[in-house]
């Protein structure tokens, strides 16, 4: 396979993209109004920068991705040679995948894969709380209960 068509194609794509950007820069109009320089936040005056801290959930996804993507790399390298390595290789990759699934189950059970609030869980916790507080109410005064909670 000659390499040059690929390179040429890539070059053309780059030129094309920069051409579009340049053209729109040249052709586009300019204006300056009172609120031009402000971020769009659905009409509300924006407060502060958007360099916020976001939930660590996202980090978790990134980690999951990094780990499992690398596993994919391993699996891919098996997939290309699976005929040569035969059943032994298959056994090997099965073990690998089983371990991978074990990890997945572990993360699942530990809530790493719960990306939003789970309605059922909240409901269960609420019911439990309610039951407990009912049981408490029979025996202890509210003051004691408050102390117990502290």
């Amino acid at each position: 396979m000659p390499v040059w068509p690929f390179v040429a194609y890539g070059g053309i794509v780059l030129i094309l993209v920069s051409l579009i950007l340049a053209l729109s820069y040249v052709l586009g109009q300019r204006h300056k109004d009172r609120a031009t320089g402000e971020a769009y936040e659905s009409g509300i005056v924006s407060t502060g920068s958007a360099r916020l801290r976001f939930p660590s959930q996202f980090y978790l996804i990134a980690m999951l991705f990094v780990i499992f993507d690398i596993e994919t790399v391993m699996i891919i390298s098996w997939a290309i040679a699976y005929q040569e390595v035969g059943w032994v290789g298959f056994a090997g990759v099965s073990v690998f995948i089983v371990i991978l699934l074990a990890v997945l189950i572990y993360e699942w059970r530990n809530g790493a894969l719960d990306f939003g609030p789970d309605g059922r869980k909240i409901l269960r916790a609420y019911k439990k709380r309610k039951k407990e507080s009912l049981a408490h109410n029979d025996a202890v005064t509210p003051l004691q209960q408050q102390q117990a909670m502290m």
Binding site: S56, Y59, A62, M63, V66, I67, D69, I70, V73, M74, S77
Partner: protein, 102 residues
């Protein structure tokens, strides 16, 4: 310059490695330090690939994959630790994270 491809490859890897090393040494932000270490690891990986292609073996590529996996695991753990550290210190300056001495 008429470099042998292997030599050239190793040279490139070496340059990357040194760049990473310098960066680790002068950076004060832990995330950047981590990044620099990753560069060094990848430089080592590159060296392996170059060496493997020199000998016509696949071992170097396999090694590179392991390096990749290890780097990934390291980044994962590293990020988690950094998050925790940030939680405590409100800063990622490596000088701040140096309360132990002696």
């Amino acid at each position: 310059m008429n470099l042998h491809p292997t030599t050239a490859g190793l040279l490139l890897a070496g340059i990357l490695f040194v760049l990473g090393l310098i960066s680790v040494l002068i950076r004060r932000n832990i995330i950047f330090m981590l990044l620099s270490v990753e560069i060094m690891l990848n430089a080592a990986g590159l060296a392996f690939v170059v060496a493997a292609s020199h000998w016509g073996q696949a071992d170097g590529q396999v090694m590179f994959m392991f390096i990749l996996a290890m780097a990934a695991a390291e980044v994962s753990v590293g990020l988690a630790l950094i998050l925790q550290l940030y939680h405590q210190l409100r800063s990622l300056d490596s000088d701040e994270a140096s309360r132990m001495n002696g």
